[in-house]
Symmetry: C2
Subunit: 279 residues, 2 copies
Amino acid sequence: MSATVLDGKAASVAVLKSLAERVAALPFVPKLVFVRVGDDPASASYVRSKERLAAKAGIFSETMLLPEGSSERDLLALVARLNTDDEVDGILVQLPIAGIAEQTILESIAPAKDVDGLHPRNVGDLWRGAPSLVPATPMGILALCDHYQIALSGAEAVVIGRSNLVGKPLAALLLGRNATVTIAHSRTTDLANVSRRADVLIAAVGSPGLITPEMVKPGSAVFDVGLTRVEGKIVGDVRRDVSEVAGYLTPMPGGTGPMTVVMVIANTLLAATRRRGVA
Amino acid sequence: MSATVLDGKAASVAVLKSLAERVAALPFVPKLVFVRVGDDPASASYVRSKERLAAKAGIFSETMLLPEGSSERDLLALVARLNTDDEVDGILVQLPIAGIAEQTILESIAPAKDVDGLHPRNVGDLWRGAPSLVPATPMGILALCDHYQIALSGAEAVVIGRSNLVGKPLAALLLGRNATVTIAHSRTTDLANVSRRADVLIAAVGSPGLITPEMVKPGSAVFDVGLTRVEGKIVGDVRRDVSEVAGYLTPMPGGTGPMTVVMVIANTLLAATRRRGVA
């Protein structure tokens, strides 16, 4: 038996299509602004891939490039201008930026335009169960569950990893869907014992091959978020032979990754409709 | 065998004493302001018990009583004044208040003076692992663990209940102490199976006698936060004969309750030292 492949690439195309239909029906064109500092090629290519998706979804995007070595003051002034610009629905500052504290930037973005979902106000609203913008990776995992109709209510979900970007917001989302949620991490005493309980298992650690077949409940859905470069190859947290035990498994690459980028677009649509009072 | 009683009353006296020592060593007197609206006797008595503890800790407290039927505008104006009053370290608005949305009030209090820890900014900071003020009940449970030297790092903790006041912030605190944390709730499929894994079990549901001996791991520490009035008697979520299985058990009353009130004082001290830049 081999697990059903949770094809994030195909699902992301379907999700993008439905987002484009919703955008087309709006009485306005949502606008997303990318902010970059300096000419890091990786950062440039990452922004380009998001620009392309925004265009496909019918969203207007603009990229603002500050010169290398720009001061914190310059950057904050730009963000402040975007915060009050009524045409701007989403702001995405490409991190990290050398010499400027990440936290200062995250807190400078208006929570209503924070499509990365990392402002403390959005984190708080997520856990309180209030409307919020949520980081893209956990949103993508939920969207992938929905795409493949993987039941979450009453399911045992185990999240391995407790980062602010993935593990913790994912736990909040799964709890909101009525899963029984366990957060495991580097200090978990017997990880195999914990992971084997999971109907839905998410590995988001960055430890290549951490999850072996013995650690997986037969028939469960397994999501691989870890991503490590080993000898030039990208390796996930989940060993590939887990597919002999799991019922569903994300490929690596092509699983949770493609969904993440699309969720930035979904967040822009959400931010735009909320802020402009369109349902 | 009978479980060790986690005597919240005794522990709270010890914690209050150490708080009083720390307050006495400060170069200023911290100030806590209670705000009440109308003359509800239960609410008045609850504030009085906190006033008494504040006095014992050497904290100056003031109670502001707005007349019954005061408008939201009046209340918000008062809170705004307290927010900017440099002498005020902590603000505690006694909820609920008839005719005024709870959320509006919670969000009006300056996060740095929010000794109830319910402002979305504090919720977000708690989950991000940043300095924050945290609701008193979960703080009290952690303090009780510390008082009885119950190990949390690497322990399996199961929190039953996902309220904003107890379950969710407690999960964040336990995670911060490196416990493997599970959040269970009304939609959890097999609660006994989940609760039996717990080295540290916290029931915060409000369902009298929910936790029976069969649902408890032998030797574990069990905290009863639920509180329901049944035929005039206060009954917790944990059946009393759980003490035959558990290694530690909070009494009801006299367990988590007394710790909660003292933690409001601890929060005031924390808010005061942080805001005034005293370590």
